[in-house]
Assembly symmetry: C2
Homo-oligomer: 320 residues x 2
């Protein structure tokens, strides 16, 4: 069959020297599985491009695997590690510029430094935006100090992929349940909650052209849109927003299909928010490229919708 | 138009003397709105039945509004309050037996006492199951001590409606954001997480006929089913289940439409789990009965599906 053009946005690598940050994430994975993951995370050539070719993925935007720079406790070190990551990634992209682009790692420890590194990554390295692994040492980006960052991001007209991470402190309900607190559930809760902090703090009212990308079919947000409006109408806590909460989810907040290869969830998300709000992704190397590609090509959708989800939305939002 | 038969399952009342438990939930609601809610919560006659009649709701299973007995810190007092609530509710149901049934409040502080009260409520009062408001003072029901309770609930062949509540301790990500930690989002996270604790603890393997009902379109669980399987395959943490995680969501765990009147979310949930797993509800008096009824009558579905969702599933699961 002729495969449809596909662009993938949540595709990870491991830069040399960044392994220590990921220990908490990866320590529970079976050793044989982990050895394979490590090999694929470190590769930018035959393994990765071969897998893209077999699945008909034309173009991939690469990002450091989590938590990356967000896991660095030392602020000054974080600035250096972010630059180091971004320069390393730029060099890899330069070797395959028709297949790869980059999302910047950012030292969100300080809003202005992060904005400066984003500007450098976009203007000098040609990156398409940033992928940030959630909170930085417990700090969330609805803090008013981050308006300086968001203002610059809006000026640069690039999106932030807000990627999951561990909760800063373990919520009581996960205690004794590591199978719930991590990738299967807790990461999504953490990430969706962070996105809601941005929304209810009015970040999208102050910076209406901002785009936040959430993976994993939107981390649960799309299907609760009606309830956000209903409950916010009763429990506003004095907050005033320019629009209904649901209006931001699907416009300022868009989603990818990474890690949720379910036609029912995909079509539900499209029905909730429109075809312009849903973008294909894999979550390489943690998910199967082949399964994700087959899923997006075979899920019931009309051709126009499939084109938007597979590549059109990414081309528009990332200016590819 | 001829309205379809409808049964509603998450419909609340306030028994005399239970107001103090709900202060934390209701204190942020506007005073005029609260006065109306209080009037409707206390009524079992013209207001409630008039609203049911106008919306074509034939039958309603009533439950104490949250947190009810789960909010009682004293174990001995909780036993008395649960009996008091259930006897009060039985008397109200007896006045309108063709329109009302009851879900028991349970003193989950002690598993065997809770099982005994459930048995009394089902066998002596004719209740259809229980509605429990999440954890009891921070204790979740995957604790092995609760197997005695689940065993009895399975014997009695009645479902538990696991209703939202506040997190026991405030998760860091909600700090300073009461608009997120409550009904709009945090309650759903708390409830879905509790349901996942039951699932991954093997409660449904040990008691395979148990039915847990989750409101609010399943509190986010239905649309992450694919990811539960994918991530549990990698991060099992030594847990062994008889089935894939997704297999329990839609069978042991069924959902209601309370508080999410979105055709996209509804059809997505049905596509994920099948029409047998989705039940109509309103969340009276917190949501509009009229809007919920119009939503479920007008959402695009075939007649067989609509019959199951509106009444057939409730009749089967609650043996009505």
């Amino acid at each position: 069959m002729t495969r449809i053009r596909k662009i993938a946005l949540e595709e990870h690598f491991m830069a040399p020297g960044f392994q220590t940050y990921s220990k908490g994430y990866l320590q529970h994975i079976d050793a044989v599985v982990m050895a394979d993951l490590a090999k694929r995370l470190a590769d930018f050539d035959d393994i990765r491009i071969g897998e893209m070719d077999r699945a008909g993925i034309d173009f991939t935007v690469l990002s450091q695997t989590g938590p990356g720079v967000q896991g660095e406790t030392d602020r000054a070190a974080a600035v250096g590690r972010a630059r180091e990551n971004n320069d390393f990634l730029a060099a890899q992209v330069a070797r395959h510029p028709t297949r790869f682009a980059g999302f910047a790692a950012l030292p969100m420890h300080d809003p202005v430094t992060a904005a400066n590194e984003l500007e450098r990554a976009v203007k000098q390295l040609g990156f398409k935006g940033a992928l940030v692994n959630g909170h930085t040492q417990g700090k969330y980006y609805d803090d008013p100090a981050y308006d300086a960052f968001w203002e610059r991001m809006q000026e640069l007209d690039v999106p932030m992929y807000l990627h999951p991470t561990d909760a800063y402190a373990m919520p009581h309900v996960y205690a004794g349940h590591p199978e719930i607190s991590g990738a299967a559930w807790g990461w999504g809760v953490e990430t969706a909650s962070h996105a809601l902090r941005l929304l209810f703090s009015g970040v999208f009212d102050r910076f209406p052209r901002l785009k936040i990308i959430l993976g994993h079919m939107g981390e649960g947000l799309p299907f609760q849109r009606w309830r956000f409006d209903s409950r916010f109408a009763v429990y506003s806590h004095g907050i005033r927003l320019a629009k209904k909460p649901s209006d931001y989810i699907g416009s300022n907040i868009v989603i990818t299909t990474s890690g949720v290869c379910s036609p029912a969830a995909l079509n539900g998300a499209i029905a909730e928010m429109g075809a312009e709000a849903v973008l294909f992704s894999v979550d390489y190397p943690y998910e199967s490229t082949a399964i994700a590609a087959d899923f997006i090509e075979q899920a019931p959708m009309d051709d126009a919708t499939r084109s938007l989800v597979c590549h059109g939305n990414a081309e528009r939002i990332l200016k590819l």
